[in-house]
C-alpha cells in the first residue's frame, strides 16, 4: 500500500493532464521537474526555482517538494544556481487524442474536397456521391449522360448543387421521361378510381442504387394492403371469390360456340375429318400467355367457312326503273362516245342518202324519230344508293332525277361522285377504304351503259372477286376472309345512325338491312363477328380476337400452368390434367343469345366460371406461392417512350 501522505497537496506536485504538454524527463522515465512545460511546449524546468528579490537580496524559492531552499542560493543576477539542460516536452495523451480526432475529421473533409475537384467532376466525384450500383437496365441507358439523367442538380455549380438540398426534385417526372403508362403515373394504379387516393411517386415502391441485380419491383402483400381497404392475408385465406363468369368479363369477339362445334357439327360423317381433336387444334398453346389466343382463321375456321365468303356479295348501286328518261343523249355521247345502236342508225341514214343521190332523187334528210322510252330495268332503287342519294327506294318519282343525274356524273367523272357521297354520309374520310380497288374505267363503263338505258355487259367473268358490274348493279365480291372493303362498308352501315323520327331513319334502316344481311349479304360476317357498342356508344364489328380488358391489373401465365399440369407430356384434353381442369364447357349456357344484342357485357359464357377453389388447390399455405404480385400487376399498360429507341447520334448527323 502506498503512503497516502506523499500525495498531499504540499507533498506532491500538481498534475495537469489537461495541459497539452508534459515534462520530457518524465516521458523518458526520469524524474519530472516541478514546473513542467509551458502552454507552448517549451521546457519550464531549466532551473529548480525562480528566486524572488526581497529588499536588495535574492532569495531561493525552491519548493518543499523539491527539497526546500538550496544551500548556495540564487546567483548574483537573481537566477537559480541549480540549472539543468532543457528537456523535450511531449504531448499529453489528451492532446494527442484531440489532434488525432481533428486530423481524422480533416482527412475526411480533405478527401471529399479532393474527390470533388479531381477529374473535373467525373468519376472521382461520382465515387463519393453514388449510393450504389444501378440495376442493369437503368445503368445502361444512363451510361451516356450519367447521374444527370435522373438528378438535375448533379451538373449544377457548387452553389446551386448545395441549394438543391432544400428543394424537392420531381423524380417521378424523370421516370416518365422514359416510362409510359396507361394513365397518370401519379395516380394509384395509373387509373382514375372513384375513390380519391393520395398522389403516388415512383420512389414510393422503386428505390434504386441497390446493386446491379437488385429487385426493385417486388412489393409485399402488406404494402398492397396499405391502400386496399379489404386487407387480404393470403389468397387461400381471404381473397374474395371470383366473379360469376370468371375469367370472362364479356362475350367473345367471335361467336364460336364450343358446345356445338365439339359435340354437334362434326357428328355428321361428312365433316368428321375436319373435326378438331382437342383444344390445341384451334388454340396456340406454344405462345400461351395470359390468354391462349386461337390460331388464325385460315388455320382453323377456313376449312369449313371459307367457301361461303365469296358468295356474300355487296351491292352498292343499281339502275332502277325510271318513268322517263331525263338523260341528255348528246351529253351521254360526249361523255361516253356513240353507242353501237347510234352508229347503226347513222349508217342506215347515210345509205339512204347515198342511194337517193345516185338515183337523182331529192335528198330528204330523215328526221330522227323520238322513240318511246322503255326502261331497261324494272327494279326499285337499291336501298344503299337510295340512302346515299337521299331518295326513297320505292318512290320512282323521288329517285328518277337524282339517280339519273348521279349516273351521268359517274359516266363523266368516274367514282369520284360516289366517294363524295359516302364521305359526306359518314362525316369523315372513309371512301378510300370503302371504294378501295374500284376501277374508274369500270364505273364509267357501267354508268355509260346505264345512261344509254342499257344493261352493262362485263367483258369477262369476275373470278377473282372485287368490284365488278353485273348488268344493272355495281357489286363487290369479297376476295378472302377479312376483306377490308366489306369491313369498311359494314363499319359504315353500323356507324350510320339517325333519330327515329328523322326523314333518314327509314333509309338508314333499309341500307343497314341490306349491308348487314346475315343470310344473303356481306353482313354474313356478323354471323361470327360480334357487333358491340364501344365506349362512345357506336356500334362496331369486332374483327379481332379480344382478350379481357376489364382486369388490366391481373396477370396469368397459361404457359407456366400447362407445363406444370403434366411435366411428362402435355395432353390438354386429358380430363384430369388438361385444359378442362379449369375450363369446363357449360352445355346448358345460352351462349348464342348473347350475340343478339350489342351489349358485350350481357352474356353467358360457353364455360363454367373458374372458382377460387380451383386455384387454391395449389396456391395455398405451404404449397405454391400466393402473394399478390403473382397474379396482380400494379401499373396499367407499362411501356417505354419512343425516344428510348431513337438513335440520337443518327439524328445529329442529319
Amino acid at each position: 500500500m502506498m503512503d497516502p501522505e506523499k500525495f498531499k497537496h504540499d507533498s506532491s506536485r500538481y498534475e495537469r493532464p489537461a495541459n497539452k504538454f508534459r515534462c520530457g524527463r518524465g516521458a523518458e522515465w526520469g524524474k519530472p521537474c516541478e514546473f513542467g512545460p509551458d502552454t507552448t511546449g517549451r521546457c519550464g524546468g531549466m532551473s529548480e526555482c525562480r528566486p524572488a528579490k526581497v529588499d536588495d537580496r535574492w532569495e531561493c524559492r525552491r519548493s518543499a517538494i523539491a527539497g526546500g531552499p538550496c544551500e548556495n542560493g540564487p546567483d548574483s543576477d537573481g537566477s537559480c544556481c541549480n540549472k539543468h539542460p532543457p528537456c523535450h516536452p511531449r504531448r499529453t495523451i489528451r492532446s494527442i487524442r484531440g489532434l488525432l480526432a481533428i486530423g481524422a475529421f480533416a482527412i475526411v473533409v480533405g478527401v471529399i474536397a479532393l474527390m470533388l475537384t479531381l477529374d473535373s467532376g467525373g468519376a472521382a466525384r461520382d465515387s463519393i456521391i453514388e449510393a450504389g450500383n444501378l440495376t442493369g437496365g437503368h445503368a445502361n441507358f444512363t451510361s451516356a449522360k450519367g447521374c444527370v439523367s435522373c438528378h438535375s442538380a448533379h451538373d449544377e455549380n457548387a452553389g446551386d448543387w448545395f441549394l438543391a438540398a432544400f428543394t424537392e426534385e420531381d423524380m417521378t417526372g424523370k421516370c416518365v421521361d422514359c416510362h409510359t403508362f396507361g394513365g397518370d403515373p401519379r395516380h394509384a394504379h395509373n387509373a382514375d378510381f372513384a375513390s380519391k387516393l393520395p398522389t403516388t411517386k415512383c420512389v414510393m415502391c422503386h428505390t434504386e442504387h441497390k446493386g446491379e441485380d437488385a429487385d426493385i419491383k417486388s412489393m409485399s402483400d402488406a404494402q398492397c394492403n396499405a391502400c386496399h381497404k379489404n386487407e387480404i392475408d393470403s389468397f387461400s385465406a381471404n381473397h374474395p371469390t371470383f366473379s360469376a363468369n370468371f375469367p370472362h368479363d364479356r362475350r367473345t369477339s367471335v361467336q364460336f360456340n364450343h358446345t356445338s362445334h365439339l359435340s354437334k357439327y362434326f357428328v355428321d360423317k361428312r365433316y368428321q375429318e375436319k373435326a378438331p381433336t382437342d383444344c390445341t387444334s384451334c388454340h396456340s398453346v406454344d405462345t400461351a400467355a395470359k390468354a391462349v389466343e386461337p390460331a388464325s382463321f385460315e388455320e382453323t375456321c377456313a376449312t369449313c367457312h371459307s367457301p361461303a365468303i365469296r358468295e356474300r356479295e355487296l351491292v352498292v348501286l343499281n339502275l332502277p326503273e325510271f318513268e322517263e328518261n331525263l338523260i341528255d343523249r348528246e351529253a351521254v355521247s360526249e361523255a361516253c362516245g356513240p353507242t353501237l345502236e347510234s352508229w347503226e342508225l347513222l349508217r342506215e341514214q347515210m345509205t339512204e342518202i347515198t342511194d337517193a343521190v345516185e338515183a337523182g332523187d331529192d335528198v330528204e334528210i330523215p328526221e330522227t324519230e323520238e322513240e318511246e322510252y322503255e326502261a331497261v330495268s324494272l327494279e326499285e332503287a337499291h336501298p344503299v344508293s337510295a340512302y346515299l342519294l337521299g331518295t326513297v327506294a320505292d318512290d320512282m318519282e323521288s329517285y328518277t332525277e337524282p339517280i339519273q343525274e348521279f349516273v351521268m356524273r359517274l359516266a363523266e367523272e368516274g367514282p369520284a361522285p360516289l366517294a363524295e357521297l359516302v364521305d359526306e354520309k359518314a362525316g369523315k374520310e372513309v371512301s378510300a377504304a370503302m371504294l378501295s380497288g374500284l376501277n374508274p374505267e369500270l364505273v364509267k363503263r357501267v354508268a355509260c351503259a346505264w345512261a344509254a338505258n342499257l344493261e352493262y355487259e362485263a367483258p369477262t367473268e369476275n373470278e377473282l372477286g372485287g368490284w365488278h358490274g353485273d348488268a344493272l348493279e355495281l357489286r363487290y365480291t369479297p376476295m378472302s376472309h377479312g376483306d377490308s372493303v366489306v369491313k369498311a362498308w359494314i363499319a359504315f352501315a353500323l356507324a350510320s345512325d339517325a333519330d327515329e323520327n328523322s326523314d333518314e331513319a327509314d333509309a338508314i334502316e333499309a341500307m343497314q338491312s341490306v349491308i348487314l344481311d346475315r343470310k344473303e349479304g356481306a353482313g354474313a360476317c356478323t354471323k361470327c363477328h360480334a357487333i358491340s357498342e364501344d365506349e362512345a356508344g357506336i356500334r362496331i364489328a369486332e374483327w379481332r380476337y379480344r382478350p379481357s380488358d376489364t382486369r388490366p391489373f391481373t396477370t396469368y401465365s397459361h404457359g407456366a400452368h400447362i407445363t406444370l399440369l403434366n411435366p411428362e407430356g402435355v395432353n390438354l384434353m386429358d380430363p384430369e390434367h388438361g385444359c378442362s381442369t379449369c375450363h369446363k364447357i357449360n352445355e346448358e349456357a345460352a351462349y348464342k343469345e348473347a350475340f343478339d344484342h350489342s351489349d358485350p357485357h350481357s352474356f353467358q359464357s360457353n364455360f363454367y366460371a373458374i372458382e377460387k377453389e380451383t386455384c387454391a388447390q395449389c396456391h395455398s399455405e405451404g404449397q405454391v406461392q400466393q402473394d399478390c404480385q403473382l397474379c396482380h400487376v400494379y401499373h396499367a399498360d407499362p411501356g417505354f417512350d419512343l425516344r428510348m429507341v431513337k438513335n440520337e447520334d443518327a439524328e445529329s448527323v442529319d
Binding site: M2, W29, K31, G103, A104, A153, H154, W161, A226
Partner: protein
C-alpha cells in the same frame, strides 16, 4: 439495486422502448409506402450528434450539464442503440455504394472500439483494485523514478556496507533494466504473472551467492521491485483505459465527417 444499475436499467428500458416505437413506426410507414429511410436516417443523425456531445461535455466540466456519469451511461446505451438504428436505417449489414460502405466500415470500427473501450472500463478498475495500490497515471513516471533512486541507493549502501559487489553487479546486469521503465506491459494488459516469475527467478538466482547482510539489502530491493510491478500493472491498465480513446475518438470524428456529407448528398439527390 445500486444507483448505477438503476440508471442503466432505466436508460436501457428507454432505449428499447424508443427503438421499438421507431421500429414499429418505420414498419407501418413502410407499409404506407412512405420513405422510412429519412425517418431512421435523421433519427440516427440526431443520436450520433448526441453521442458526440459527450466529449464536449467532458471539456465543459465547469458547466452544470448533468453529471458526467449520466452522460457516460447515455453514451453507452445510446451507442448500442445507434448500432441497431444503423441496421434499421440501411436495411442490411453491408450497403452497396462505395461511399456508404466506407461510412459503414468506419461506423462499425467506432462501434467496435466503443464496445472494447466499455469492456476495458468495466474490467480494468477491478484489476487495479486488486493491486492494493492507488496511483494517478500521470504520476507513474515520477513514482518509478523515485523507486529506481531508492533501489540504486540500496545497492550503493550494500556495496559500501558489505564490501561486496555481487548484488551491485546483479543489479547492473538484470534489475536496472527492470527499474528503468515499465516492463511486461503486454503481459500486464492480459493479466499475466510473468513479472512475478521473473522477479522470483532473479531473487533466487542471486540469493545463493549472498551472505546474510547482503540478503537484507536484497529483500528491500525485492520489496521495491514488487511495488514497481504493481505500478507497472497500473501503467498497463490505465494506459489501456486511456489508449482506446486514441482509436475511438478519431474514428468518431471521421464518422461525423462522413455522416455530414452523406446527409448533404442524400438531400440533394434523394429528395
Amino acid at each position: 439495486m445500486s444507483a448505477i444499475a438503476t440508471r442503466y436499467t432505466l436508460l436501457w428500458g428507454a432505449a428499447i422502448v424508443g427503438l421499438a416505437i421507431l421500429g414499429v413506426y418505420t414498419y407501418l410507414a413502410n407499409l404506407q409506402l412512405e420513405r422510412t429511410e429519412f425517418i431512421t436516417g435523421y433519427s440516427l443523425f440526431a443520436l450520433m450528434i448526441a453521442l458526440a456531445l459527450f466529449n464536449a461535455r467532458k471539456k465543459l466540466a465547469m458547466v452544470p450539464l448533468i453529471r458526467s456519469a449520466y452522460w457516460l451511461a447515455i453514451h453507452v446505451v445510446g451507442g448500442a442503440a445507434a448500432v441497431i438504428l444503423f441496421f434499421i436505417h440501411t436495411g442490411s449489414i453491408w450497403p452497396t455504394g462505395g461511399y456508404e460502405q466506407a461510412l459503414a466500415l468506419v461506423f462499425y470500427l467506432v462501434s467496435v472500439s466503443g464496445i472494447v473501450g466499455y469492456a476495458i472500463q468495466r474490467v480494468n478498475p477491478r484489476r487495479l483494485v486488486q493491486t492494493d495500490l492507488e496511483i494517478i497515471y500521470e504520476r507513474i513516471p515520477a513514482e518509478l523514478a523515485e523507486i529506481r533512486e531508492k533501489a540504486e541507493a540500496e545497492i550503493l549502501a550494500c556495496t559500501e556496507g558489505t564490501g561486496s559487489d555481487t548484488l551491485a553487479r546483479h543489479y547492473m546486469e538484470t534489475l536496472s533494466w527492470y527499474f528503468r521503465r515499465p516492463r511486461f506491459i503486454l503481459n500486464n494488459v492480459f493479466g499475466g504473472k510473468a513479472v512475478e516469475h521473473w522477479l522470483r527467478l532473479q531473487y533466487r538466482t542471486v540469493n545463493r551467492y549472498l551472505n546474510d547482510n547482503e540478503r537484507e539489502y536484497l529483500d528491500r530491493i525485492n520489496d521495491l521491485a514488487e511495488m514497481k510491478a504493481k505500478i507497472d500493472v497500473h501503467y498497463a491498465c490505465q494506459g489501456m483505459m486511456k489508449g482506446w480513446l486514441l482509436v475511438h475518438l478519431p474514428l468518431a470524428a471521421a464518422v461525423l465527417g462522413l455522416m455530414f456529407w452523406h446527409v448533404i448528398v442524400v438531400n440533394v439527390y434523394a429528395l
